[in-house]
């Protein structure tokens, strides 16, 4: 029974194991499960071991028992956006149609369904483009169809599950905010900070703790038992380099900055620099990338033990990375391709990572991401990615 359901969970990346499946059957045979609601709670509590997968579980459950459609990940975003567009459209058709570059009177002839299809088509086009060109749907920008319209600000939790069918409960997607795949947002700062707290160096266990030694020796009835503890180590130095050019990075910059700002006390030194798309001759201390440059050549003077963290989408035209005069800013063209610069930085700082807000399943489609990932170990800018990145930064070389 329910073998299909079990494999469907597995296929959707929820780590379920056969032991759990057998336990579920034990629960069934004990007569503990009398309804679909019982089955929903029981199967979730037995099979799913982390709240991060609750959302995925809800979707699979609703799909399996009610036949709701399992959304493709990208499609959800787009249809959500299209919905927002439609709402905006109903309020203020003129502005929206102006931004979309369509004739308002012509558009008003379309039915809502047609309109949504049209929006979707436009949105799909949009996902391909990068800097320059069609900027009409910037995230967090001044455009009325911005991202922030639908982005949930805080944790939303649906009501108490009384008198509701399990499928309905599952379809509510109450655990969306806990899902591990979403990008880092302000709501997740607390969780992310916990990950960052692991960035504390550990010395070797080479100091004798005298009190503890005495105590343990006594406990051992006089047999000497020497207790060692870790020697203290100085706190870490961290350099944070953020790509703040182009709207694609906009939603993530404040999050990353707040995050490291909160954690500042645990570092000995935290420097933040900015760049656009990729690093050429200079990094900039000011977000406008104009006043206070830091020559990349001089980075070599810093402590090589410094943790170098780059945050950027690493998406650009290949020539920006590879060509000798790649920079889109004239004053930055010095004759060395950016990729050489990146290699030099990675060599200077053996502990370095690149955090990328682009989901990793899309990395293969962008040549520059692949190229940079060969230089810097690249991690997603998600809770999971952050955790892995911190583990990587703290690993002994």
């Amino acid at each position: 029974m329910f073998v299909d359901f079990f494999y469907k969970l597995k296929d959707h990346g929820i780590p379920v194991n056969p032991t759990g499946f057998l336990t579920l059957h034990k629960a069934l045979s004990l007569g503990l499960i009398g309804s679909l609601e019982d089955f929903y709670t029981a199967s979730r509590t037995i099979l799913v071991k982390s709240e991060r997968y609750f959302d995925r579980f809800d979707q699979v459950f609703a799909h399996h028992f009610e036949g709701t459609q399992l959304p493709e990940e990208a499609a959800v975003e787009i249809s959500e956006m299209a919905k927002i567009l439609l709402e905006q459209w109903l309020k203020d058709p003129e502005t929206v149609s102006k931004i979309l570059g369509m004739d308002a009177s012509e558009a008003s002839k379309l039915t809502p369904e047609e309109l949504i299809e049209y929006f979707k088509a436009r949105l799909k086009e949009q996902t391909g483009a990068h800097h320059g060109g069609s900027k009409w749907i910037g995230t967090g920008g001044t455009s009325p169809v911005g991202h922030s319209g639908y982005h949930p600000g805080g944790m939303r939790v649906a009501g108490v599950s009384r008198n509701k069918s399990a499928v309905k409960v599952a379809m509510e997607r109450r655990y969306k905010d806990y899902s591990r795949s979403g990008p880092l947002s302000q709501a997740l700062i607390g969780e992310a900070l916990k990950r960052l707290r692991h960035m504390i160096p550990e010395g070797p266990k080479d100091q004798v703790n005298i009190d503890e030694t005495l105590y343990q020796t006594m406990k051992n009835a006089g047999e000497i038992e020497i207790v060692f503890e870790r020697s203290l180590k100085d706190r870490l130095k961290v350099i944070l380099a953020i790509d703040n050019g182009g709207w694609s990075m906009d939603p993530y910059i404040p999050v990353v900055q707040t995050l490291f700002d909160y954690a500042r006390a645990q570092f000995k030194d935290l420097k933040t620099y900015f760049f656009h798309n990729t690093i050429y001759d200079n990094l900039w201390e000011d977000p406008t990338r104009y006043k206070r440059p830091q020559k990349v050549d001089e980075l070599i003077r810093f402590d090589p033990e410094t943790r170098f963290i780059v945050v950027g989408d690493a998406s650009m035209a290949p020539y920006e990375l590879m060509a000798t005069d790649g920079s889109i800013h004239l004053e930055e063209r010095s004759g060395r391709p950016s990729i050489e610069r990146l290699k030099a930085i990675a060599e200077t700082f053996p502990h370095s990572v690149w955090l990328n807000p682009v989901p990793s399943r899309l990395w293969g489609y962008t040549r520059t991401i692949a190229a940079i990932a060969r230089i810097f170990p690249m991690f997603e800018l998600t809770l999971d990615g952050l955790e892995k990145a911190v583990a990587h930064l703290m690993a002994k070389k």
């Binding site: 629960a27 503990l32 709240e51 600000g153 944790m155 009384r162």
Partner: protein, 283 residues
């Protein structure tokens, strides 16, 4: 049906229970599996164990896990120091040659030896290292452990109801998770929160309740807060508001929020929230 004879958990006097959680607790008890509870601080993970013990009338044994804890500490202690003392001075009634007299049971040992079924709460398991967690689950699986010093096996007389809580500071290992049932307590929604407050303040004025809960959820929505105020903070806050004779619930609506320090415990959070509130009031 057998179902009727089984002890079932339906809530307690100081604890507001939702149906889903009640089902999970009952399933875990019937399957005799430990229940692992995760969730934000202040969602009542620890309170749940207290509530179960109260409603099923079982004694509650609490094991507070500490980071330096070894599994043996939770099982039993061999009090060598007393034995050494006794053997030197010999002024106690204990028999020095009988090691068993110097074995003291730890929390898990007590739960195993109890003559009635107990509720065993293992609080904040994530503080301990992975070895502790895995070894402990072995013991809880087998329901027995050996006292090496006297070569004796302690078997559980009754299988305790085991509740484990975790604050998700560290991830738990897969084998550990495999042996537990899992539930994540989401933060209560305003409706639930009102019921919780009612349980704690049966005579609260509805005006104060409404305004306090509303303000509380608004404050929780502030972005970039490291430690969001939780149920415990809200309860303390309401207690503070009630105690203040000058306080009028209407003032909350105007955006005047006294005792902000009760809600935000980190200085940076406090400053951030305070600044936001003042800015809002100007407009």
């Amino acid at each position: 049906m057998k179902k009727e004879t089984r002890p079932r958990f339906t809530g307690a006097t100081r604890y507001v229970l939702d149906d889903e959680l009640a089902r999970i607790v009952n399933i875990s008890m019937a399957l005799e599996m430990p229940l692992l509870m995760k969730g934000e601080p202040g969602t009542g993970k620890t309170m749940l164990a207290h509530a179960i013990a109260e409603s099923l009338k079982m004694p509650l044994i609490v094991l507070n896990v500490k980071s330096s804890m070894k599994l043996v500490d939770a099982l039993y202690q061999y009090d060598t120091l007393t034995r050494l003392n006794d053997s030197r001075f010999g002024d106690s009634s204990r028999d020095v040659s009988n090691i068993e007299e110097y074995i003291k049971m730890g929390k898990i040992g007590q739960a195993f030896q109890s003559d009635v079924r107990t509720v065993l709460l293992i609080d904040e398991i994530d503080k301990a290292d992975t070895d502790f967690q895995d070894d402990m689950l072995d013991v809880l699986d087998q329901m027995e452990f050996d006292i090496i010093e006297i070569d004796k096996t302690i078997r559980a007389k009754h299988r305790p109801v085991i509740i484990i809580t975790s604050n998700a500071k560290k991830d738990l290992s897969d084998p550990f998770l495999g042996r537990c049932n899992f539930h994540h307590i989401a933060f209560p929604d305003p409706k639930m929160m009102r019921e919780i407050i009612h349980v704690h303040f049966p005579h609260i004025e509805s005006d104060l309740l409404e305004n306090a809960v509303e303000t509380f959820y608004r404050l929780r929505e502030i972005d970039g807060i490291e430690k969001k105020p939780a149920t415990r903070e809200l309860i303390n806050w309401i207690r503070a508001l009630e105690a203040d004779p000058d306080f009028k619930p209407k003032r909350l609506k105007k955006g005047e929020i006294p005792f902000l320090g009760v809600l935000f415990k980190k200085s940076r959070d406090y400053a951030h929230a305070n600044a936001l509130i003042h800015r809002r009031r100007l407009y």
